[in-house]
């Protein structure tokens, strides 16, 4: 009985081993063929076509900018290069170029009346720390000259006018506040002051304030 069981078990194991070997051989044979499940779907555009507008898979996005007119993107210079250069598509920066002028009929040659120069030359004196020496001379008339003085005469000069000038030399250490004087503003004598503008004047004796009006022009 025991031998019978062993024999049957051996036979069973032999049978199973042979079947197993057959199965592995069959898989190795089919392994050379291409997989059949994933090939055919690429012909009509796969499911991962979000953002693509056609069946070929070519990206055609960016046709409408989110915050600009439609014609802006078409006129943007260098847009084509940006798309084909392999950068991130759709993230381009909007360059809003001014449209060409086709309406204006002027000569275009008249320049601005203001001086267009950009030279900033007057900002320098603000920070200069120089010591300015101001000499004040006050001529003093000691005696007046005679009425008539003949030039080129050999007579002794009768002019007794001497000018012992009282010179006071004042050395002023310059402070930044003092260097930028606004003298051009106060000495505005070059323009004809036709306006009748006056400011508020305060009479210190009576402590009254008198306000004068400004000249008015009507835009009729």
């Amino acid at each position: 009985m025991r031998n019978t069981i062993l024999t049957l078990g051996s036979a069973l194991l032999l049978t199973l081993g042979t079947y197993a070997c057959k199965s592995s051989d069959q898989s190795s044979v089919n392994n050379g063929t291409p997989a059949s499940a994933t090939v055919s779907q690429n012909t009509t555009g796969d499911v991962n076509t979000a953002g693509l507008n056609n069946s070929t898979g070519a990206y055609s996005g960016g046709s409408a900018m989110p915050s600009g007119p439609a014609n802006v993107s078409a006129e943007t210079p260098g847009e084509q290069n940006q798309v084909t250069s392999g950068n991130r598509v759709g993230g381009k920066e909007l360059v809003q170029a001014a449209p060409s002028d086709t309406s204006y009929a002027g000569t275009g040659q008249t320049l601005i009346t203001s001086s267009g120069s950009r030279t900033a030359s007057s900002n320098v004196p603000v920070t200069t720390n120089t010591t300015s020496t101001t000499t004040y001379s006050t001529p003093t008339v000691v005696q007046t000259a005679p009425a008539t003085v003949a030039p080129n005469t050999d007579t002794t000069a009768t002019i007794t006018t001497t000018t012992p000038s009282t010179t006071a030399e004042v050395t002023t250490p310059t402070v930044i506040e003092n260097t930028t004087t606004t003298t051009p503003m106060t000495s505005s004598t070059q323009e004809s002051t036709t306006s009748t503008t006056t400011t508020t004047t305060t009479d210190t004796s009576t402590n009254n304030t008198t306000t004068h009006t400004h000249r008015r022009m009507h835009k009729d």
Partner: protein, 317 residues
């Protein structure tokens, strides 16, 4: 219930306080308000057009010193060319808002002129033509400070002015009239045209620079020198301009709506004077922020002595 009512009332009041009027919104877009702006940048991005007879000598130099682009010509063609050239030369300060300190000719046309002499240089332009010409240059807002300016928006003269309107103020156009093209469509324009909500005769005041504080004069002088121009001595400023600068709550602007009624109303003299003093005060405050009072420093001679001593000590070491 009582508490809820109180909260609702408080919220309503707060909303009213913080409400932004259309005028404020329009000004915020056209001319952003900055309390810390430099004197030389007050008018950045803003162009101003003066009729020569509404100006004073050296007026444009004053506005240029404040950062504006200023034009003062009797010929609109020259002004339009100037705007275009400016925006080409100075793209960083390009004009986006244009303020017109011109005549309105009782609402019959924007007029620039040297004087009321019939033979004087004079030109007119329609609002539509102005839009058509300056829109390609980048201008987005036009504020008309002229008399009866809302009448200028009438559809009958919006594109083409009527030179035979019978108004005595419509003097001979010795330098021509500029009208919009026939195929120009106002509805496609991106420019916002703003006018005073109430029609009346606008006024301009003539002021002197010496009325400004020394600090302001100094700021103007520095700005003018940097531009290569002579510092101004006087200026002309309109009431509406001052209202815009000061963000006066009494200013009401309207956009796109025309009226037919002709107004002869003049603003009271006291109003202009009050605005003028507020304007001067505002500019003085800005300059005071830009040029704060300098602290008293040690004289140069003493500092030099100290420096020399320090150097000698270092040398000994």
């Amino acid at each position: 219930m009582r508490r809820l009512s109180f909260i609702l009332i408080a919220l309503t009041f707060a909303a009213h306080v913080y409400a932004i009027t259309p005028t404020q919104y329009l000004l915020a877009k056209a001319w952003p308000y900055d309390t810390k702006v430099k004197v030389s940048d007050i008018g950045r991005g803003v162009g101003i057009v003066f009729s020569p007879d509404l100006s004073v000598p050296g007026n444009c130099r004053f506005y240029q010193s404040l950062g504006f682009a200023c034009f003062e010509e009797p010929d609109w063609d020259t002004v339009l060319s100037g705007i275009r050239t400016y925006n080409i030369l100075y793209p960083e300060r390009a004009i986006r808002t244009l303020i017109l300190e011109t005549h309105g000719t009782n609402g019959n046309g924007l007029k620039l002129q040297n004087s009321y002499d019939p033979a004087a240089d004079r030109s007119y332009i329609s609002v539509g033509a102005l839009q058509e010409h300056v829109e390609p240059d980048g201008v987005r807002y036009i504020v008309i400070s002229a008399c009866n300016s809302r009448r200028l928006l009438r559809s009958a003269i919006y594109k083409t002015l009527d030179p035979y309107n019978g108004d005595k103020l419509f003097l001979p156009a010795t330098l021509g009239i500029i009208n919009a093209s026939q195929d120009w469509d106002p509805s496609r324009s991106r420019i916002v045209v703003a006018t005073p909500a109430t029609s009346h005769i606008e006024q301009t005041l003539a002021g002197a620079v010496k009325e400004l504080s020394p600090t302001t004069r100094r700021a103007i002088t520095v700005s003018a020198r940097s531009l290569g121009i002579q510092p101004p001595a006087q200026f002309a400023v309109s009431e509406m301009f001052m209202q815009m600068v000061l963000r006066d709550p009494s200013l009401e602007l309207a956009t796109g709506e025309s009226i037919d009624v002709l107004s002869r109303d003049l603003t009271p003299e006291s109003r202009g004077e009050k605005l003028f003093h507020s304007f001067v005060k505002y500019v003085n405050q800005l300059s005071a922020k830009e040029y704060p009072a300098a602290k008293k420093r040690t004289p140069v001679t003493k500092r030099a002595a100290k420096t020399g001593t320090a150097k000698s000590v270092l040398a000994r070491k």
